[in-house]
Every structure is written in structure tokens, then in C-alpha cells.
Symmetry: C2
Subunit: 579 residues, 2 copies
Amino acid sequence: MSASASAATTADRTALIAAIDAQGSKVRSLKEQSADAGLVKAEVDALLALKEQLKALSVSAGSASKSATAATGSKMVLKTPKGTRDWEPLAMAVRSQVFESITRVFQNHGAVTIDTPVFERREILAGKYGEDSKLIYDLMDQGGELCSLRYDLTVPFARFVAMNPIEYGSMKRYHIAKVYRRDQPALSKGRFREFYQCDFDISGSYDAMVPDAEILLILVEALTALDLGSFTVKINHRKILDGIFDVCGVPADKTRQISSAVDKLDKSPWEEVRREMTVEKGLDGETADRIGEYVKLKGGRDLITKLFGDARLTSSARAVEGLKDMATLYDYLDIYGISEKMSFDLSLARGLDYYTGIIYEAITAASAPPSFAAASGAEVSGAQAEQSKAKSKKKTAQGEEEEIDESTVGVGSIAAGGRYDNLVGMFSGSKKLDSVPCVGVSIGVERVFAILMQRIKEAERNGEKSRFRAKPVDCFVMSMGGDGFLKERMKVAKLLWDAGIKAEFLYKAKPKPGPQFAAAEKDGVPLTVILAPEEWASQEVRVKEQKGKDSVEGQGKGQVVGLDQLAAYVARLLKENAA
Amino acid sequence: MSASASAATTADRTALIAAIDAQGSKVRSLKEQSADAGLVKAEVDALLALKEQLKALSVSAGSASKSATAATGSKMVLKTPKGTRDWEPLAMAVRSQVFESITRVFQNHGAVTIDTPVFERREILAGKYGEDSKLIYDLMDQGGELCSLRYDLTVPFARFVAMNPIEYGSMKRYHIAKVYRRDQPALSKGRFREFYQCDFDISGSYDAMVPDAEILLILVEALTALDLGSFTVKINHRKILDGIFDVCGVPADKTRQISSAVDKLDKSPWEEVRREMTVEKGLDGETADRIGEYVKLKGGRDLITKLFGDARLTSSARAVEGLKDMATLYDYLDIYGISEKMSFDLSLARGLDYYTGIIYEAITAASAPPSFAAASGAEVSGAQAEQSKAKSKKKTAQGEEEEIDESTVGVGSIAAGGRYDNLVGMFSGSKKLDSVPCVGVSIGVERVFAILMQRIKEAERNGEKSRFRAKPVDCFVMSMGGDGFLKERMKVAKLLWDAGIKAEFLYKAKPKPGPQFAAAEKDGVPLTVILAPEEWASQEVRVKEQKGKDSVEGQGKGQVVGLDQLAAYVARLLKENAA
């Protein structure tokens, strides 16, 4: 049964249910009016006929395909799509706090924000992601353009700059939004198919390494603000890598392939990478070994000095350009006080095609995969997607892949980026390929969410109060005694709402005190406003502070306040408590 | 040429460009070193060979299909997909302010927020939207589940509640997010294929009309906060409509069809709707005319009284239930002081299948279509999509539809909603169809954005200052004289950033004062921090307030401040200026 057929069935079913509802109502009404028995019977028969129709529809749908059955609602598979999730209120509170922290850092550095559509014309994304293009979600061809969900925020940014070179050829922008990858999910590790990236990029021609150094500072500030513990930023330079490949004897047209082999060094031993270079990519063994000598080097400014002293490497003008950049960069990093956070690591290559200068990747202790925790961690959440390879997969009966064993997977880098001077030019079709040089960083926050949610759960287990409140209500308006005071509670709530005070009350005509106190307690509402007959008679209510469970037992009688003073009194209390 | 083939081509091209870049660098380096002429020639030849390869690739791609040509970057169609747009920084500032206004109202009423994936399993959406299901965006079948982009936020909410009935069977939640409809766009009117909805819904069983009245209050508060001028909320009740159809003699199984005909009364004259009922839907003329008498009625509490006095209508128990609801509702609306904003309008039917009780729709003067501006406006931005019908369309050479003549289109209702007591039950498969009753409202904000952007442009034309700042920078750090003070400006900026002060500086080693003042001026930065040789010698800088253009000419010399006092001084100035 096709989707549209099952849709029609469900629509019919909805209409039938409504008709049955209406007809049942009619029958009840006739019976109440003690209407003529023949008339009642006729309407009852009509009702039964409708019910038969509904039954027939359910049976026919039930005997059709799984999808049709599901659509009728009786056996619907009730879940979000694979690799996605709902955000419950507490998770939203955490998410919003994380975004605020990051946004504060981004705005501190003078960035504006933009947004782009969740899908792009397919040609915009084509050829930007190497092997990982297979992970792109395509929209169905329903006539008109072919589109795909965005895979990252960098390519849409470059497209945006190319479309608006006059206005935005020189800008600092951040963009916090969801991106989409048809990857193997590992939910408990924070690896999703729909996930957030927090990007900061600088477009424009400036003096060398000035924006690059600031991007690294922003990265350090953001990771520090997120309070994830210690972290390291691995940095390298594409021109130095190119110089290494050049002086080691890699043919120019093999550079990118060899670079992508080097990029696997954080997950695979050198022997395996060497085998890929020589056996798979046809590099001669001697060349590979020369590369091997270089890419095992790590350090800081000392390594720059060492490489400047390497006559073979400095015979490459390209390597010298890269080394000069690195030296300048370290000067600026010193001013920003973040050189110690960096590790100049010649094995860092980054998989994406479009990088042209400095590249980097941040690793936290929390994000390293178990097997590599002691080492430097594996790339996962960044732009590459090695994670879908070499993992044990099983096909289920439905033909979908089962989740992988999450205990064997780390989250890898928590942020990554680099300089990409040609990407905008690829869109603008400008003859000058480097028309709008750019540098940027992308922070993957799903792992941060996972860590924070875990901390909240631990705090809960320990009976500690979490700093996150999903529901920031100030005042619970309740009645004690009387006839329930529904309309009066409405009136009081309206009075508080009008004053901008977050208030609610139970939507019941005659609620007992217990459930009202419980509702206030559950959401940690700091104040209750209590309506009772004696006070209401003189247009007064009682305002009580809810400090812990004692208040439920009625310790402290609160303060009786006239309605005309209520909003001001509550506002003052809230302000005092906040201070 | 397939998309993946063109992707491969582009990847090749990117690799080639990188190789050419590297090889060019090598050649330059050899020349600089005055290397052996033969060696230089060999490398130049290699370079030329690479360039030939690039040329060949471009030609082969160029002779292939349009899409392949585009993917090579040389003739790329540079745009966002039809009916979508980028959000530039100023638009983002407006958007964020609109969301803040609405969120404040929602949170005032004790709502939490959730988020759901941008796509759902297709069966979740099936059969919820009647004829408009054809507007749903489907994802391509790439293996695994079939999914579609969300069409609204109501169905995902119902799915969420059905999945979590214990935790969220009784909740107030808001959700501000993008939804997707393959509709005919009219961009200048704020009608997009990717657009925002701001939803507030209440799930749970409560005393009749208490949550319903609060939803209407929330709607009124939100529209008031958005400052759109006068508006009216049309309200009706599905049970009253059902009662009317019943007593007029509509067969139970035709109820929904006739209801959907009535729903067109805001755009079509009665004669046309009557023709649809009789000719298309086979209703007898007399029944149609009886309906006609009812659906032209409009009013407030007076209309409720009048209908209670209508013996024919009150013979329907269902109508009486609806009328009792309306009477209770008006009691509560009176307490909330919003009865005057309502128009009880028997012609309002709402197209969606799932409504079961009160229904409503808000119309602003700004949102009414030109031809109906004097009347009540047409449904467009809400859950229905009449807009794709009866509009003149032209096919372009590319087979895509041209934009419609926007001057003939209004935006219609700016918000809509109602009670839907069976939708969650459709998902949970519960035998009790009304297991989790819900009521909610959805505010369409695209039109609000359009109006606000228009106001900003008008203000700009009149030389007025807009209250929206896309880039909220506090301090511009600049140099005057000396060698440009690049590192010193970095140091000062770092000092400000560390104190949480939004600061920036020009990424140039030796900038002239003009461009620095211009940059500060352009973004309306309130303070400049100026580094000059004489002051820097004693570790001091000059802080100047940028009040209008005079400051550029140097009126007012500002204040000389020691570096150790700078952050505190600037923070104090900013605080004073904000107050």
C-alpha cells in the first residue's frame, strides 16, 4: 500500500471517528429527550453502520503492509527517525545555556549571526566533502530543484559570502544550527544524524595570521566557557604538509591522497598508514618512510625552529611560507596567552578538500575514544566520518543497521577548522581563486550536552539541586477552602501576568490544597499566592515563599497582601531572592 | 551526468587546483633560488600539464548537463532553494527580538519548551493534513526509514506526548521552529517554503474551557507584544458546526466535506460555496440553504444567547454542548478582559481534520489580502494552503514555476489553532480515543518579520536610528601614529574580552585612522580605545565616546586611562550609557 493510499485511509478514519462521535451524541440526545423509539432506532442503526465502516477500514489497513498498518494508528512505530531525538524541557534548558555561553564568546569578538536554509541546492554541496559525500541526506525529487540537507555550516557560509561579496566579503559571523549526516549513530556518545554545530568564521583579506590567531583564541575561550576540563588544540599547516610531501618526493597529483592517508594517524599505527600509501596509493617505500620521519613530530615553537633548520624541508618555498605563518601565529598566540594549549602536530592533516592554510582540531579528555584516550583521540564529530568504517554492523530483520557497540567508540575531536581561501571562489566562479579568503572553526556541542546531562543526573542521584530549571515559573496561584476560587485565581494570575510575572494555577474548578502544593513543589516554584475565603473577602491574598518541603507543612504563614499591592510585592520578593 | 559523477569531477578539480597551487609555489621557489634552468623547465612543464588537466576537466564538465556545469563552479546557479532565504545579520536581530517577545509571553504562562527533529518518520505525518498532504517535503529513500520534513509543530508535539504520556500527558509547552511546505511562495508577503511557527499547546484533561481561555489570552498577549496594530480573533466550535450540519440535515458521513466547503467562506461568496456543497458534494439545495442561514451569523455573547433560543439548533445535543462551552469560555474571556477582541463567527470551520472543539484564527489589518482587506481576510499562513490554488502560474524554460503576482495575495490569518482531543490517541493507539486532549495555537511570524524589516527600511530612509543593531560591539580598539600597534591592539582587545567587553580591531598591521574610525562608525560602536605613541609609552590609552559624526572630527579628546584601569573604566561607561 503506498504512502498516499495509507494517508487517504487515515483521513477517512479520522472523518469516520468524527462522524461516529457526532452520531453518538445525537443518539444520546434523542434518548435524553425520550424521543420516539423508532426514531432512536434509526439513528442507532446509522451509528452502528458507521462503526462497521470504521472496523472494515481498520481490518483492510491491518492486512496491508506494515507502513499502512502503522498509519492507521493501531500499530504505529512510535519513535523519532534513526539517529535523531526529541529535546525534552530539561535538555532544552541545558542546550540554551550552552548556546548562550558560546554566543557570549562569539559576540565578544564582534561577530554577527546569520542563518541559511536547512537544505541547499544539491550542486552547492557537490564535491566539497570527498568520500563523505555519501553521508549527505537528499530530498526526494518532487519536481523543481534537487536539494540536500546541509552537511555542515561552512559550505552554506561560503555560498552566502559568494552571493553577497560586497556586503559580506569581509565579516565575522557565527552560526549555531543543526546539520545532517547519514552516519552510523552512537547516541550515548552524542553522535547523531541531526546535530548542532556552532561555527565562527572570518571572511576577508587581512594581514597574515591575525584572524587565524583570534579564531584559536575564540576556540579556547569557548571550550573554557563550556567547562569540559582540560583540552588540547592540535595545529598544523597545509603548506607545511605540502612542502613535506614535495621534498619527500610525492608526485604533485598524489598530494591529496597521501594527505588523507596521513590524516588517519590518530586512529591507525604508522605501519597501516604506510601500507595505504605504498600498496593502495602506489607511493614508493622510501618516500613513505621519509614522510614517516616528519609526521611523527610534535611540539611548539621549538618544532618551528627545528624545521627552519631542516635544509631539505626549507628547500620547499611552500614549506617556508607555512613555517613563517606558524612563527607569526605563535607570536600572536603568545600575546593571547594560549600557546600552551596548542600542540603543533605534523600528523594532523584534516580530511576536507578545501583547507589551504592553518588547520586545527581540539581534543578533550572527555572526547577521546577509550582505546586512544591516552593518545590524542580520534576524529569523529568533525567534518570527517571515519566512524562509519571498520565498525561491526548487523542487519536487523527490517534491513536497518543496528546501533554499534558504543563502548568502543570515542567522540574524538570536539571542534575543528582551518583556513579555506578558495572555497568562496569555487562558488563565485571568480578567476581569482582566492577572491575571499576565510578561516573558521566549528564546535560540536552534542558531546557537551551529553556530559552536562550526565552531571545533572549524578547531582539528582546525590540529592543536589541542579542549576537548570526547565520551567522558570515564579508564582503558583492556589486556593484553600471556599468553592475552589477558579475565576478568582484566573483574575489573580492575569494580574501577575500583566506585571510580567511568570504565574500559573491548576486548571481545575475545585482543586484540593495537596495537588496544588505538589505542582508548585515539583517545578520548584519559589512563591505561592494563596486565595482563602476570609482574606479574599477583603480583597487580600497570602504570599508564601516555598523554601524546601517545610513550606508544605505550613511552617511560616506568609504575608497577607492586598490585591492592588500584589504584583509590586511579588516583584520585589523575586528581585530580592534573585540578588 | 549524475550528481555523484559531477561531485567526483568537482573533487578532482579541487585536488587539481591544490596541486597547481603547490607546483606553482615550487616553480617560484626554484626561480628565486636561481636553480638550474633544466630543473626549472621540468617543473614548469609539470605545472603546465596540471593546468591542462584542469582545463580538460572544465571542458568535459562544461559539455555535460547543466547540473554538472554548475557543480564545477564556473556557471553555478548561486541561490537558495525556491521559497527559502538567507537571514542576514539585521534580519537575525529582528528575528531574535520577535522570538524573545513571544517567548516572554509563553514563559509567563508557565510553559516549557521542547524540540523535535526537523524530519519525522513518514507514517507519523500521514493522514493528518487532508488535501494539503501533497505539500509535504519527502526525503529521498537512501535506505532505512522513509522520512518527511515536518509540516507543522502540532503533529510532532502529539507524537511526543503519545511517546511520553506519563511525563508529558499534562503539560504546557511552546516550540518555535521552522516547518516546511512545498507551497507556491510569495516572498515579499512573508510566505515561504521554509518558515517559522511559534506554537503553544496545553495537553491534559482539565475543567472545560480553562486552558482554552488561557490559550486565547496568550494569543492576544503575543499579538499585542508584536505591535502589529489592531487584530480580531475569529472563534467557533466544531460541535456547534456539527450540530448545525446535523439539524440542517447533512448526512453524518458528509459532515467533514461540508465543513471544508464552509471553511472557504472567507475567500469565496456564499453562492460559490453553495455550488460546491450541492453540485460537487451532492448535498440537497434545501439543506445547503439552511446551512447558509447559520454560517452568516457573527457576534459575541449575544449570538450565544440567540442560538440557545433556536429550538431547531438546540435539538442537537452536540450543538448544546458546544454552546455551553462557548458560554463558559466567554465567562473566562471576560475575566481575562479579551472578549472584545473575539468574533464568534459561525463561518469559521478550519480545514484540518483533527480539531474537535473550539477553533480560532487571528486576522490583522496588515495580514488581510488586498481584495478582502475590508472583509475578514483569507487563510494563508495557517495550516491550510488554499494559496496554491486558483493562482496564475507560468512554467519557465527550466520547468519551474514562476513566482506568482504577489500584489494579489494577502497573508491571511496570522495565527490559528483549536482543540484537538483525538490526535494523541491516534498515535498512542489507545482504545480511549481522547486519551490526551490538547488545545493550542500557532503563530506565523514571517509576516511580522516582513513588517518589521519594512519599518526599519523606512526609518533608514528618514534618517532615523533603528533600535536593531546587528553587531553589538562595545569597543573599537585603534591605533593613531606609531608603527600600527598591531600586537598592542591585540593585547588591549584581549584585556577587554577577558572582562566580557565586546571589542574588535582592524586585522591590519598598519591601519590609517580613517578606516578605523569608519569601521567603528559603520557598526555604531559606542566607544573607541585609541593607542598612540606618547600615551602607550606610559601604558595608557585614550577612551572616547562616539557620539554621532562629530567624534570623527575629533571634538572631545576623550579620557586617558591606564591599562590596569581600562576594563573597569569601560565597563562603567557602558553601564552608564545603558542606563
